[in-house]
């Protein structure tokens, strides 16, 4: 039996969580370093997954399969396709940055120090242990090819997330300490309840799926590959109405998580109240499980129903894009602004998934990765800024670039990535989603294109109001520029955005075959161009001599 690489990739951060939690209260710094090292080890393992993965090989690789709950056909089945592999890599990549950025976020406030020394409650250790716990669960979710295994971890990650949102917030809250704790608690419970309701509905669908498979196959199964095989051979033939109901059950949970309009309202609360690194964890990592699961489970298990639901889903995605962007324009709170921008971006991802074209789905997958990196860059710098001034309100800033030019510069790059400037990675994914959508649904493509204008508006407004102009007041004048640790967190993210914007090929090569598999699941083919220009392959293509350019003659 081969080495269980995927399981190990998830077990290492889980062990790290336990180890970090066990560090004595007084050894806070040791706990931080321990967590950081575990996250690096996980990153190394994720890199191994990427290297071991052969894009031209079987659809699912590095597979593991063990009987688990035999009576219900539940198997512990893991496997990575190109999409899952890059999502695991994204998760493992971002966690060290999240830990590095949140280095001091869970320290006891000065004065509290003494009290906490002797108590059993160790917030610092808890903070980093919870982050690693989330990482472990997210990785399993990306790797699971058994619906039940996926479901368990999809739900279980709510618990550490709940404590991360509710237990740790920004030091200074505009509304005062007590009110701040109240709002945090509200945000955490709202997050939990929304996702639990989604999860419960999904649970009904999971059970329904089991009922259908056990009826038709004689033995119930949750295995994606088994179900796909049975469907292909005709053994499994889900009735149309059942399939649609099951699809809706799954989709609802994922749409809450993604989040899709109108189920999005928990996100601004959660991202606004939590610390910036946790906000990144929510939007860049945890929420991606939702859009990823749409690709893998909704489309993979219920192709017919996915096709049936497409018009509605596309409409919701378009609403998310435009609505999220407009609301971002109207925000007065930096973090909530970024949260609404994310809602707009999730609209793009869902749009790409349901456009059912190679470019759309390939773009959506890249979008998940690139949005993760770009939002991390923007949000973490925003967090550094907020921690300096102790305010999330845009109106409390102004002229920051004068006193902290490096901070302002990195903030601008993060913002430019968010508005998908060409040359930075998100441009590629956004363009692919748009072109992929346009080729099947031209009207939707054009509406979504409005999103790129609105994105420029909210990003540049934010930059203008916070960074430019005369220095706002004495408090802003005293803001220090980025520290070494902070720069070490942001610089690699920016370098990655530039590198992947210029040379995304390593990722597209991973993702492309997986997208083709997904498209064949739903039996969709890309729309053909009306007047294809060249019969020969692109790489053999030699540009015509200039004389033929304007002539209008067709050879």
């Amino acid at each position: 039996m081969s080495f269980p690489l995927l399981t190990t990739t998830a077990v290492v951060p889980a062990l790290g969580a336990i180890a970090t939690a066990a560090v004595p209260a007084a050894r806070r710094t040791a706990a931080k370093w321990l967590a950081f090292l575990f996250s690096l080890a996980t990153l190394g393992l994720a890199a191994a997954v990427l290297i071991r993965f052969d894009p031209d090989g079987a659809r699912y690789q590095l597979t593991e399969s063990h009987a688990w709950i035999a009576d219900f056909g539940v198997r512990y089945e893991l496997g990575a396709d190109g999409i899952g592999a890059v999502m695991i890599a994204l998760t493992a990549l971002l966690i060290p940055f999240i830990i590095g950025a949140g280095w001091n976020d869970a320290d006891p406030a000065p004065g509290e120090e003494e009290e906490t020394e002797n108590k059993r409650w160790r917030p610092t250790q808890g903070f980093f242990a919870l982050i690693l716990a989330v990482e472990a669960m997210v990785i399993i979710s990306f790797a699971a090819t058994d619906v039940f295994v996926f479901y368990i971890f999809f739900e279980a990650m709510l618990i550490p997330m709940y404590f991360l949102i509710g237990g740790f917030g920004d030091r200074a809250h505009a509304a005062g300490e007590a009110e701040g704790a109240k709002q945090r608690s509200y945000a955490a419970v709202k997050f939990l309840l929304y996702n639990l309701v989604g999860g419960l509905i999904m649970l009904a669908a999971v059970i329904g799926l089991f009922a259908v498979t056990s009826d038709q196959l004689g033995e119930g199964t949750f295995s994606l590959q088994e179900i796909a095989r049975a469907r292909a051979s005709g053994e499994l033939d889900i009735a149309t109405s059942t399939e649609r109901l099951l699809f809706l059950g799954f989709f609802f949970a994922f749409a809450v998580k993604a989040p899709l309009w109108p189920l999005h309202t928990w996100l601004p609360n959660a991202m606004g109240e939590s610390t910036a690194p946790v906000a990144v964890l929510i939007t860049a990592v945890v929420d991606k499980v939702g859009t990823f699961a749409m690709l893998r489970f909704c489309l993979g298990l219920f192709p017919g129903a996915s096709d049936w639901a497409t018009p509605v889903v596309i409409a919701l995605a378009l609403v998310s894009i435009v609505y999220g962007a407009l609301l971002a324009v109207g925000q007065r709170d930096i973090k909530r602004l970024i949260a609404y921008a994310s809602i707009s971006h999730f609209g793009f991802i869902v749009l790409g998934v349901f456009a059912m074209t190679s470019q759309g789905q390939g773009g959506a997958t890249l979008y998940m990765v690139f949005h993760g990196i770009s939002t991390a860059a923007l949000m973490l710098v925003a967090g550094f800024l907020i921690s300096r001034r102790g305010s999330r309100l845009i109106a409390d800033y102004g002229g920051v670039q004068k006193v902290a030019p490096v901070l302002a510069g990195t903030f601008l790059v993060g913002g430019l990535a968010t508005l998908s400037l060409p040359g930075l990675a998100p441009f590629i994914s956004e363009f692919l989603v748009l072109v992929g959508t346009y080729s099947r649904y031209p009207a939707a493509g054009i509406v979504a294109t409005a999103g790129i204008v609105l994105a420029a508006l909210y990003v540049l407004l934010l930059y203008q109001r916070t960074m430019t102009g005369p220095v706002k007041d004495e408090q802003v004048r005293r803001l220090p520029d980025l520290r070494v640790r902070e720069l070490a967190v942001v610089a690699p993210l920016i370098a990655l955005l530039v590198f992947l914007g210029v040379f995304p090929k390593p990722l597209t090569e991973m993702v492309d075959p997986a997208v083709e598999h997904t498209l064949s699941d739903v039996q969709k083919k890309d729309p053909k161009p009306q007047h294809p220009t060249a019969e020969q392959g692109w790489f053999d293509y030699k540009p015509a001599a200039p004389a033929e350019h304007g002539g209008g003659e067709h050879e």
Binding site: Y186, V189, L193, P262, S439, T449, V502, P532, W538, A544
Partner: protein, 631 residues
């Protein structure tokens, strides 16, 4: 030779990267590094140019495929360059004028503490602009297209501490983004129509597609061109862009970037040639803008804004010519190049004047400066003669050709366009004479500012005047050189095609007409500003003057249409999201699971136990269901 094309873009890109990431250590040498790299790019361009001249016209294009950029099933985007005569013309203009302006900026920005960053941005602009004109496909062109938009944003807002500069930068980027969206949609259309967006296959098989498709593509490309080239209706950003340092106005907002729209339309000629309706839209935009910009230029007292109106108007000429099809492409580009020389020279001259006048921009506070700044006066004066089309100078040849081509369009359209172009020539002569007279002639009108500092106008250092002198040479001789033996037309013909068209009026008549228009314009301005003293504060003026001072109400229209409505919309949406969507979802859930009740009760401190019990409930539910299945 092909491998040099990449270096052409690479040199300034390297400079930008080094200067922007390098930190303070480079403060003392950064501007030299940037200028040397810009110069290196120019030398590379010249080497490629002479190599190109050695080949015959049909075989001059070079192609260089660097790597496959975004390979996705059914979608191929490459980083690949194409250097043909059209691109070559731009390369020489961009790197040549660019290098001169780098040198000029060494003097102009000498006392700015952020000079290193300024030069980093300038290099970034050069790299993006070169990418724009060297790309061999529309997607890579798009990268350069937005890249120059970014550089423009950074440079307009270079003095970010001024709220007006920050606002102008944002406005420029946003208005341009509207145009960019047009370019994006044009690329989508090409992709669905042809399956590719590389120049060669799209342009060579353009006629396969239906006229409707081509018209749609053409109109979207026009939208893009309107944004970048500040053409009506996306013109409103250019005047505000004058907030940037003057060398930026000269390089980006006069000589190069704003002409990218003309490049785009000329490059996509094969599409426009087969879409007459789109061509009509192009000429209408060009004609409207050339009058619009000229009128605005007449009313501005800010020397840079007057020149900005003029730029808008001159690009209107180019767009008009490009919309004429093969009879106009070559002339559009020819005027673009001569305009690059004289307008850059005029802006540098304006910068030199401001430099000597404590950054005063109001021409009513100038007067009689010819005595104090002789070099600036002569170079500016030559630029002035060139732009108004004084016989023998650059602008005369290039503008005359466009007016002639406009008549040659034929039919009523030809008459209308030709007449508009002639009227434009008269207005050009008027507003440029006004600028010239207000600045350099008459009595001195400056006075001490509120701190009691009176300006002491003086000539600028030679690091600034030498670039102005070089550009003045271009303003005088380039046109004649291009016209001699129709060399410019022959040079571009293999790429753009050329036909003479059928003009209802003879060339001599057109030339006479332009000269008469020129004299009328100059005379009118002389009567108004030369013969009597100029008041220091602007008189109230007619309704048209007042409207023109407000840029013909462009901002008022935009404000009413987008800003007011938009901010109302976003504010009400914020309310709706908070009260309605959130409330509705919570409410719906409440009917099923008592969600809102739980939300309300979380205030009492049992939130945590609630959450845990909820999750516990879910776990029990799973177990129970599974058990039931098992039984």
């Amino acid at each position: 030779m092909e491998s040099l094309i990449g270096l052409l873009v690479g040199a300034p890109l390297l400079g930008a990267a080094v200067l922007l990431c390098g930190g303070r250590r480079l403060d003392r040498a950064g501007h030299w590094l940037a200028s040397v790299l810009a110069g290196a790019s120019f030398v590379l361009g010249a080497v490629l140019f002479f190599d190109m001249l050695g080949k015959d016209g049909e075989h001059r294009a070079l192609h260089s495929h660097l790597y496959s950029w975004v390979p996705v099933e059914g979608f191929q985007a490459d980083v690949a360059f194409q250097l043909d005569q059209l691109s070559m013309t731009f390369v020489l203009l961009i790197t040549g004028v660019g290098t001169l302006i780098h040198i000029y900026s060494i003097g102009y920005m000498e006392h700015d503490e952020r000079r290193r960053r300024f030069f980093g941005f300038l290099n970034l602009f050069l790299a993006a602009m070169l990418l724009l004109v060297l790309a061999d496909n529309f997607l890579l062109l798009y990268v350069g297209w937005e890249g120059v938009g970014l550089a423009s944003y950074l440079l307009i807002g270079f003095w970010q501490h001024k709220p007006s500069a920050a606002a102008a930068a944002k406005k420029a980027f946003l208005v341009n983004r509207v145009g960019d969206a047009g370019l994006a949609i044009a690329i989508f259309l090409m992709f669905t129509t042809f399956g590719t967006f590389a120049f060669a296959p799209v342009l060579s098989s353009a006629t396969d597609a239906s006229e409707g498709k081509l018209t749609a593509i053409g109109l979207m490309l026009l939208l893009a061109a309107c944004g970048k080239s500040a053409q009506v209706p996306l013109q409103s950003w250019l005047g505000d862009a004058m907030e940037g340092p003057t060398p930026v106005s000269a390089l980006i907002h006069a000589a190069t970037m704003v002409t990218a729209g003309v490049y785009l339309i000329t490059r996509s000629g094969a599409i426009f040639n087969a879409a007459p309706d789109a061509q009509t839209a192009v000429v209408v935009v060009g004609a409207v803008t050339l009058i619009f910009g000229a009128i605005v230029g007449c009313a501005k007292d800010d020397i840079k804004k007057a020149l900005a109106g003029s730029t808008m108007s001159q690009i209107g000429y180019m767009i008009l010519a490009a919309g004429l099809g093969p009879i106009g492409y070559a002339f559009a580009i020819m005027h673009l190049v001569t305009h690059g020389f004289f307008k850059a020279g005029l802006f540098l001259g304006a910068g030199s004047v401001m430099h000597g006048m404590n950054d005063e921009v109001d021409m009513r506070k100038y007067g009689g400066l010819r005595k104090y700044m002789p070099v600036t006066f002569v170079t500016f004066g030559l630029g002035y003669l060139a732009i108004i089309g004084f016989p023998g100078l650059s602008g005369f040849f290039s503008k005359d050709q466009i007016i002639e081509a406009a008549f040659a369009k034929g039919g009523t359209q030809g008459w209308i366009l030709g007449t508009v172009a002639l009227i434009g020539a008269a207005i050009t002569a008027y507003y440029m004479t006004r600028v010239m007279v207000l600045t350099f002639f008459g009595e001195k009108r400056w006075e001490p500012d509120e701190n009691g500092n009176e300006p002491h106008p003086h000539e600028s250092p030679s690091v600034m005047t030498i670039p102005m002198i070089v550009l003045a040479f271009g303003s005088v001789f380039a046109g004649g050189l291009f016209k001699a033996g129709d060399s410019f037309v022959h040079w571009l013909e293999p790429v753009t095609q050329h036909s003479h068209g059928d003009s209802p009026v003879s060339a001599a008549t057109v030339t006479t007409g332009t000269v008469v228009a020129l004299l009328l314009g100059v005379g009118a301005a002389w009567l108004q500003y030369g013969r009597r003293p100029v008041p220091r504060t602007a008189p109230r003026g007619s309704l048209l003057t007042r409207a023109a001072r407000r840029d013909l109400l462009q901002d008022d229209v935009n404000h009413a249409a987008f800003v007011t409505g938009g901010s109302y919309l976003t504010r009400s949406l914020v309310y709706v999201d908070h009260k309605l969507v959130d409330g509705l979802v919570n409410g719906t859930a409440a009917t099923f699971g008592g969600l809102s009740g739980r939300l309300r009760r979380l205030q009492n401190g049992f939130a945590r136990s609630y959450a845990v019990s909820m999750f516990g409930g879910a776990a029990v539910l799973i177990a129970a269901t599974l058990l039931m299945r098992a039984v």
